[in-house]
């Protein structure tokens, strides 16, 4: 069912041709030489594997880094030229015996991510439902605001917002990390698209049965929105797990730090904690990698969700 645009033409010299019988004569502009489908497949596979390998280099490097002496890595950089005899499990011992607040950061991030994802999904889908299912005065203007908010970097407002947070007495609380992002413009936009595809008859049937407008949303619409929920849970979960700047501004107590902030505190010449930095950075990837390997399809759908609809 997939359409068949031409495969890439590397360096303009290696035209490839489709192997399907139905395709009419190939007329690639790139050159007269023709390759058998088998050869083309080999070239394609080689090309894809090469790119994949390059993409994995940084991850392999940090994995190897977890077995190396932290100070040495920081001084000399990550290298292809690894001396196997210097590798050890010392950093792992350190991580599990003497990593200070590391696992606390881990737990904090987990809690915050779960709370924020749950809150954002609930609130944003709620709002999106209003935009998708009703006609009301001021809708166009409100929705233009949603679109604008998608395009304005939150960072540009962080300073006045920070001042305001202090006035509200909410500094150093998890609440204020979450609150501004519950009605998240991108998530609202996505849910709206999804709800637009839901047949209006469901609503009417609900009304006939005497369900409230909100009951219709919670009882009839949400249960059939699981795919959208999954996609947005993944998108928001990733953003939240990696959130840095706003928590950095707001949080003060080290016990409340999240992983990205905590890891950043290890990156200092006066700290003697480069061992923990490398292995800590690596371990922070593990939950999300496990989830990815388990739910790969949802991840890709979740991240690409915004663009899919044309």
């Amino acid at each position: 069912m997939a359409a068949q645009p031409p495969t890439t033409v590397r360096g303009g010299s290696a035209p490839q041709e489709s192997g399907t019988g139905s395709t009419p004569p190939d007329r690639t502009t790139a050159g007269p030489r023709r390759l058998s489908p088998r050869a083309a497949t080999w070239i394609q596979s080689g090309f894809l594997l090469l790119i994949a390998a390059i993409a994995l280099v940084p991850l392999v490097a940090i994995f190897i880094g977890t077995f190396q002496d932290g100070n040495d890595v920081i001084r000399r950089g990550m290298t292809f030229d690894v001396d196997v005899s210097t590798l050890s499990l010392d950093n792992y011992v350190l991580l599990f015996t003497d990593s200070g607040p590391y696992f606390r950061w881990f737990a904090n991030t987990l809690l915050l991510t779960v709370a924020q994802v749950a809150g954002t999904l609930l609130v944003s889908s709620f709002v999106a439902y209003g935009f998708a299912m009703y006609h009301f005065k001021g809708k166009t203007l409100s929705f233009i605001m949603v679109l604008l908010l998608i395009t304005v970097p939150f960072e540009m407002l962080m300073l006045p917002l920070y001042v305001q947070v202090n006035d509200m007495g909410l500094a150093d609380t998890y609440l204020i990390i979450v609150l501004p992002f519950l009605a998240a413009a991108v998530t609202i936009f996505f849910f709206r698209q999804y709800f637009l595809g839901i047949p209006k008859e469901i609503l009417e049937a609900g009304r006939v049965d005497g369900v409230t407008e909100f009951g219709i949303f919670f009882r009839l619409v949400l249960p059939i929105s699981k795919p959208a929920m999954a996609a947005m849970a993944i998108l928001n979960g990733m953003l939240c797990w990696n959130n840095f700047l706003w928590p950095l501004l707001v949080l003060r107590t080290p016990e409340k730090f999240t992983l990205p902030i905590g890891l950043n505190t290890l990156l200092t010449p006066y700290g003697n904690n480069y061992e923990l930095l490398i292995i800590g950075a690596f371990f922070s990837l593990i939950p999300i990698l496990i989830l990815f390997l388990a739910f790969q399809r949802f991840f890709i759908e979740g991240i690409t969700a915004g663009a899919v609809k044309g």
């Binding site: 950089g77 009703y134 679109l147 407008e213 949303f217 890891l263 490398i278 950075a281």
Partner: protein, 298 residues
């Protein structure tokens, strides 16, 4: 109570209320506040009105223009890289040719970097682009017969590192976008074109690209956003907000430096207001030109 719950007239307003509150409390009020503070000097909570002083200083500040230049340059180059390269990769993967397992592995490998936090990615790239001649990128440079390069110490090579980081993190995602876009193009278009004798390359130019327009619009939109909002990548790569000759300073970094590091909230507010105007101008122009508003707000 019952009436409210059943009212079809009131319900939509209640539904979008959380958004309106968020908009008011976390956007409108701060913007207003920013605007007011931009005409003040703020020190330990005491504000003094100083007219347009902050704006005048901003206009003359070379570092601001440099930060703006850096951000714009980064934004444009990320678009230049992150539209065509993923499009080509998507086309390769979308081809009927090939080994499905290789393709699955390719997709997963390319996608994993997007899952890596910028903090971790920044640390790794800082170490890969280290100055030492045994660092990875210098070994690569040596392999190709030049170097060692002092990557993060010089402007262009520092930019290369930043772009490499962006390319690494986002190629996978953008490839998936384009792949999804390509798969929604009806096969008949290509069949018809083939019958008319169009070459693969012509098909790509005249069918694939025009039909990918919504995807391209979307990718460009997020790249504009990402480019202008970029801060953490540079912050991690340079292990802080200071870089040689401010080569890694972005507009957000500048905002952070003025507001947080130098505690000049009035001046930083002026920066924020100017940035907001710039971003709104770019986005509105772009959204109107691409027809997004007409389509979505209808």
């Amino acid at each position: 109570m019952r009436q409210i719950l059943y009212s079809k007239r009131l319900a939509p307003y209640l539904f979008i209320l959380p958004f309106l509150v968020t908009l008011a409390v976390f956007w409108i009020v701060p913007i207003g506040r920013s605007f007011v503070m931009s005409f003040q000097e703020v020190l330990y909570g005491q504000a003094t009105f100083i007219g347009t002083d902050n704006y005048e200083r901003l206009w003359r500040d070379r570092v601001f223009w440099q930060a703006l230049y850096n951000s714009m340059r980064y934004m444009i180059l990320t678009i230049v890289l992150l539209v065509p390269i993923p499009m080509v990769l998507a086309a390769v993967v979308n081809s009927k040719l090939g080994n499905p397992r290789v393709k699955a592995f390719f997709k997963a490998s390319l996608f994993v970097p997007a899952l890596t936090s910028v903090v971790v990615a920044g640390i790794v790239f800082r170490l890969i682009f280290a100055e030492s001649d045994s660092a990875m990128m210098n070994q690569v440079a040596e392999f190709f017969g030049f170097g060692p390069v002092r990557w993060l110490r010089e402007d262009i090579t520092g930019l290369v590192a930043l772009l490499a980081l962006a390319l690494w993190r986002w190629s996978g995602v953008n490839t998936m976008y384009f792949l999804a876009g390509m798969q929604s193009i009806p096969t008949e278009y290509y069949e018809a074109a083939s019958i008319d004798g169009a070459s693969k390359f012509q098909q790509f130019l005249h069918i694939t690209i025009p039909n990918l327009k919504p995807t391209i619009v979307y990718v460009v939109t997020i790249s504009v956003y990402g480019g202008l909002a970029m801060f953490l990548e540079s912050f991690m790569l340079y292990a802080g907000n200071s870089s040689p000759n401010n080569q890694g300073l972005t507009v957000i970094g500048y905002l952070y430096r003025k507001g947080i590091e130098e505690n000049d909230l009035g001046f930083a507010s002026a920066v924020g207001v100017v940035l907001l105007v710039i971003v709104m101008t770019i986005n509105l122009t772009y959204l109107i030109a691409s027809g997004t508003f007409k389509k979505e707000a209808a």
